[in-house]
């Protein structure tokens, strides 16, 4: 068949390869094919109003991604061959990667599954294609992250079993349960949770700190991954905004539903990002910026502009935004204190900040660090110097919703925990804040099923009655190598050997080959 124009215009190509892939069913009812589209109460009157700002088609998608992959893996190879790990700022930096690989990379996999699922369950072709591409992106991200960090696994501890740990280790239930909560919701809530609240509103607080942190600390492999993911992230953010505007424009009844989801997922995301706050302020040897500054730029300013823009749809800023804004002076210190005292049960090391770092923290947090947190670290330092490094030997109370220990303080009183509690159906539940307590009250049946690591240990479901057995056998954390204090750890000694400061200890076999 001879045709004059062999090449389709971009517009036609988009039409043929996305919207025209859909059809009207004739022998099955549409509601039966897309059973999840209506039960959340979201009303869609016209799927054709869905705007896809990228108009990307599958053939172009594969081509772009393949080009990016080629460049990325060339750099990974060069990094490995040149022993790139020897050029990082300090081995303490690698602990940030351990947190990322166990806490974040498996979420990329969860996102891959989540977008594959919701892509199947929308009847609108434009939304389906966007979700399909994001699903493949997320799968690519988890793979490239694993490859970027695999080089570090050859030289440092704690990176060896990240997927297993993600499913079991106490603090990793925080990111895991966040994603499980989103994935077990309906498709529209999932997109509000992940595409909007996470990817659009909060993602800069995750990726900028990690990728800039990598750049500031000489980690070229991770920086390169970041660049390779950047164009995908831009597409994901756009999808996040599009889905919100689409729902709000389709029907006014959608507004209160979407508002509640924004309230919920802002708070869930904020609690999850408390892990990033301590990474920024405590785990990066070369600091990028403080958590407080990052929060001000990426949430208070950018988020503020976003919510002013959404006002015309009847949307207000997230309900507990003020509590989050107040928390910016505190959460990183509170999180690092928590991980310091429970380092016997983590796959990464913790340490007391150096004098220079404490001074930096005093400067960054003039109203809070010296008053509330420096005394804590100085006391622990003295204990450590006496050979009595502090570990908390009793398990912590966990929040029923976010699963972080109930460690956060009242928004207006940093000397008191913002603990909340209620009785539902004769059972008592505990929460870290009003934000989490509210989420529970709205869907108690969901959260009474929470798999809380502390309670699971006490029920005898984690292969041991004592913490050491649980850590070694159930978590697969190698005791004395992956966990505990950084100073004097095998990682620390290996780093000193790399830098020529001290001979390699006889028991350090990892670098010998």
């Amino acid at each position: 068949m001879a045709t004059k124009n062999k090449k389709l215009s971009l517009k036609d190509k988009y039409q043929y390869l996305t919207r025209d892939m859909a059809w009207e069913p004739s022998y099955q009812k549409k509601e039966d094919i897309f059973p999840y589209e209506r039960f959340e109460g979201i009303k869609i009157t016209d799927w054709d109003k869905w705007e896809d700002p990228f108009r990307l088609t599958m053939d172009a998608y594969w081509k772009y991604q393949a080009e990016k992959e080629k460049k990325l893996y060339a750099i990974f190879d060069a990094f490995a061959q040149n022993n790139g790990h020897q050029n990082i700022s300090d081995a303490r930096y690698v602990n940030a990667l351990k947190l990322f690989l166990t806490g974040v990379s498996p979420l990329e996999y969860g996102a891959f599954q989540g977008y594959a699922k919701v892509g199947r369950h929308f009847s609108g072709a434009g939304a389906r294609v966007a979700c399909q591409m994001q699903s493949i992106d997320e799968l690519r991200h988890v793979q490239t992250q694993i490859h970027a960090m695999s080089h570090y696994n050859k030289h440092f501890n704690g990176l060896h079993d990240f997927a297993h740990m993600h499913d079991r280790v106490w603090f990793l239930s925080v990111p895991k349960s966040f994603f499980d909560d989103a994935r077990s919701a309906g498709p529209f809530e999932f997109l509000t949770a992940i595409s909007f609240s996470f990817e659009y509103v909060l993602t800069n607080l995750l990726f900028v700190p990690f990728m800039s942190g990598a750049a500031y600390n000489g980690d070229m492999a991770t920086v390169t991954f970041g660049f390779s993911a950047q164009s995908d992230e831009a597409r994901h953010m756009t999808l996040g905004l599009e889905v919100i505007k689409f729902m709000l424009e389709q029907h006014e009844d959608n507004v209160p539903i979407v508002q509640r989801w924004i309230d919920k997922w802002f708070w869930r995301g904020y609690r999850l990002l408390s892990l990033v706050s301590m990474m920024m302020d405590y785990m990066l040897p070369n600091k990028v910026m403080s958590w407080k500054d990052a929060w001000e730029v990426y949430y208070e300013q950018n988020g503020g502009a976003l919510f002013r823009d959404l006002e015309r749809y009847g949307i207000r800023p997230p309900k507990y935004q003020d509590d989050a804004n107040k928390g910016k002076h505190h959460i990183s210190h509170q999180l690092w204190s928590t991980f310091y005292q429970y380092s016997q049960a983590t796959n990464f090391h913790t340490w007391i900040p150096s004098e220079a770092e404490m001074n930096w923290l005093s400067e960054q947090y003039p109203d809070t660090f010296d008053k509330y947190y420096r005394p804590r670290f100085e006391h622990w330092q003295k204990q450590q110097e006496k050979g009595e490094r502090f570990y908390n030997n009793t398990l912590p109370q966990l929040c029923q919703v976010c699963q972080v220990p109930t460690l956060f303080t009242e928004p207006d009183d940093p000397t008191q925990l913002s603990h909340r509690s209620l009785v539902h159906d004769g059972e008592r539940y505990h929460f870290c804040s009003d934000g989490c307590c509210d989420i529970f009250k709205h869907e108690p049946e969901k959260y009474i099923q929470a798999w809380l690591p502390v309670h699971q240990i006490y029920q005898g479901n984690c292969e041991g009655a004592d913490l050491e057995t649980v850590v070694a056998k159930y978590y697969h954390i190698n005791i004395g190598q992956d966990n505990l204090e950084y100073l004097g750890s095998p990682d620390h000694r290996r780093w000193q050997a790399i830098k020529g400061n001290k001979p390699l200890g006889a028991d350090d076999s990892k670098d010998a080959a």
């Binding site: 509330y372 005394p375 009793t394 220990p405 509690s421 099923q449």
Partner: protein
């Protein structure tokens, strides 16, 4: 409110006392001692006398804090699940009304954490 679902949705709590092999959970929060990052979660026998719980379970958990040496349990202001509480050291946890997942709160005037910093 309840979960929106395509079918009647019901669920059983994961942490019923029956799942703890005859034991129960007790949380303890020592105010202004945030060196312990959050309230402690203890596994205890419901028939354990409160005095034993204080001395054998709680005391070792807080031993690392410098304020613990000066802590006299008889001079603590107690709360049980946010209500004022007067402990009877001879009574069991159960008979004291300390239920599964109850929380005891200690307020210790004069002991305000390291350097008075609530740490």
């Amino acid at each position: 409110m309840s979960v929106k679902a395509l079918y009647p949705y019901s669920a059983e709590p994961k942490d019923l006392q029956a799942n703890f092999n005859g034991m129960q959970l007790v949380y303890v929060y020592w105010r202004k001692h945030l060196m312990f990052c959050s309230p402690f979660a203890f596994l205890a026998a419901p028939d354990m006398p409160l005095g034993d719980f204080f001395e054998q379970v709680l005391r070792p958990a807080i031993a690392a804090h410098p304020d613990s040496a000066g802590l006299d349990f008889s001079r603590v202001e107690w709360q049980l699940d946010d209500q004022p509480f007067t402990p009877d050291l001879a009574a069991s946890l159960k008979d004291s009304g300390i239920g599964h997942k109850s929380m005891l709160t200690l307020t210790t005037p004069g002991l305000d954490g390291i350097g008075g910093s609530a740490t």
